[in-house]
Amino acid sequence: MAADGCPFHQVLDETLGLSATAPTARLDVPLMPLGTAFDMGRADDGAPLVDPRIFDTTEFQRNPYPYYRILRDHHPVFHDTLHNCYWVTRYDDVTAGYNDDEGFNTIPKGMSNGVLGNTQLELSGIEHRRRRNLYGRHLVGQALDKRIPIIERLAQEMIATWFDGTAPEGAVVVDEARPGRRSIELAKAFANDFPIRVVCQVLGFPDEARSQFFYWYSSMMNGLGGSETAHIGIRARQDLEDYVADLVDARRREPTYLLDDNGEPIGKDIISELCTTVVDGDLLSAEEITSNIALIVGGGGETTRGAILNMWYLLLQHPEQFDAVRADESLWGPAFHETLRHSSSIGGQPRHTSYDITVRGVTIPAGSLVNMVDFSANHDDRIFADPEHFDVFRPDLYTGKIIRSGYDRDGRRSHMAFGVGPHLCPGAWISQQEAVLGSKVLARELTRHGVAVSIDAERMPKDIDGTSLAPIGLGAIRSLWLALEPAT
């Protein structure tokens, strides 16, 4: 006699599905067509449900936006009890959270701490302002303006190597079968190293440290948040600390200075500034200086690299927009901002509630982790029409001078890649200058050499259909192969 003769067994089987295969720990989800979400079930009112395991899948990394749309439309404050956090996904809620430094605080020992160490990312209020101001002024205003010619010349020098045979190994491939055609890997040939060299100069790092920079920033950024590669990030951070130790001693004794294009001192470089500044009656410790350097290295390297690669990847997939930008250099700014709206390389910022706060009817207890999802805010169609579409001419995106408020007098909103409010990215301005100046120079040089540029699709990763280019998904593409051919 079978057990299913027992009425209780039958009810158990119906409700728990005992006779079916036991559920697996991971969500078994296929890769879906872009823009389409995997069906995770429906509530009684027809609203789509969200299985929090989706956040751990390859599908989500590759095709996140339909899932964010579900969250925004049906669960704008989603309590994810599997990951013990709340996901806030609408633009207005994210910006309100960023601007409410009191209610949504940053906590010490946050996600970046394990690798970067104690940084201003984890501070709020006056503590945050004091530390941020130590080097923030080097990255904006006159100090930055005076350095623009140096940044521009640096880009020219790097791009010149593509044509004179001195480009980094593996960055340029000449196609013997197709005369005049060459393939350039933009990351190796430019985007990996260009932000590093700018940041190196602003920090006051000796030139010989440059060779280590890519290792430091890519390892540390990939190791944040206890990721699978955290141990690599931790090792890189230790390596950076070992390198910086002697430098700190030297700069404490003898600060060095940033120079403008004429060799005139602009002010102390950032490391010297950190080494000699007294905060709350005390010098910063070597550990704290290293942590801040780690933050600048990571923030200044990886994010700008991603912005440059994503911007060129998107523009080249929209040739009419690319042509317009090349024809009118003032459009590089909007192109940069639209790239960061459409495909930012930073997903969001964690915050913690200082007290119980109710948002959209959901009460978030004090001390809870709230993930403010910039990716989703940037694709909120309550703010940006047709948000999945890349459009440098978009009228609803603020693309002017970066502002802390996040909106202009006409009510246009900025993207969230730099955040808003007190924690607005201090490197936003220099990052924009690097990406825009570098891209301008690159486009000019391509014109000067009489070459047409397109994506070298043969060398690029493909999407699941085997023919389309792989989507950017969350983060930034790792490499971008350009095909350069004589212009017809």
Binding site: A3, T15, V50, H83, N84, G226, S227, Q238
Partner: protein, 407 residues
Amino acid sequence: MSAFRTYEVYQRARPGQPSAQFRARQLSSEDALVDPAAVLAPLRAAEPCYRDWPGNAFWVTRYDDVTSVFTDDANYETRPLAVLAEVDTHGRNLGDEVEVLRCLERTADEQGEAIARRLVAEMSADMATEVCLRFPFELLCAALAVEPAAELARWWITLPGAASWYPQVRRAGLAAFDALAAWAEPLLASRSGGEGDDLLSVMASLGARGGDVAITLLELDQATVPGVLTNVWWHLLTVPGLQDEVGADHLLVKAAVLETIRHSPPVVHADRWARREVERFGRLLPEGALVRLSAAAANRDPAVFGEPDSFDIHRRDLCQREARGQYRADGLASGISLGTGVPTKHPAVPEDRPRSRYAIARDLAVRVTSVVLDELPGLHLAPGAQPVIRSRRFGEPRMCWSLPVVR
């Protein structure tokens, strides 16, 4: 947030740290569903408070650390299932009321054995579903003095899912919660003011509404009794000679149950939240931090139990008495049974108080196991059966969901 107090606490990860090779995803992996103690053993040895970033939790794995958090209500908050299910405003939990405990104790003592004998007599093939998992439901129906209808069984089974992270299970659980509350309302009204000593009458006398009944049932701990029963029988059926030995000396049944609670606890971890910023276990736990206390790992702590991975009903280092609030009596550690929470809220139990839920659950497990040994001596696994103890999903009870048996 206050000044510099926390910022200066230095705890950056270092290369070569023993846990550096540990992957947080292991904590919710298939391996962890089947054998969490094995997955957590490296953490217990190397990093007693592991920062699980993807799960946003701190995992505590050593016995003394786990029990220290359990008994530290000043620093750590327990969030009831009703809060996690976000139904806490629908009523109140009456489970700790003396009258309710007394009713549960009385039903367990007076009817538990008879119910067990009936279920064993009716069992056709699968002891896990037909006896172990069914028994608490039948006992509850007896306590409520209602017929064990299929609908009620469905609500009872799905109710704990109201606090689940899994959306479909949560939805079903919340539906069951509402259905139970609606079902109880007229029953409470009809039994209010009566002379009955059943659970509904007792709750009616306490002024309960339907929502109170639903919350009380939600918080009643559905996992420990059936989980201990399936797991003890998994051992009795798979360890050669063990069933014969225990069957020959029923005094060993209690030892087998207690060793099962230690070796194979059905509730593998419990959650607490830091009420304020606490520096413990070499870490800074921020206010609101989720501290995940692993019974699976703590109960196998070699610092407390000799040869912790072996199932040994004769072990001398396990407390045989109810540990009242301290997890230790006679200087010995007890197996942590998280489903029952802190063993009792009354450290010194006067004679006129009912036994704690821990004691009631333990005694029920002993009684049902004894009944099965009496009624079905020489039980064997069905040919080809390979039952496993596992959690179906992360956070769900770890028990044996199927035990096909033959005489």
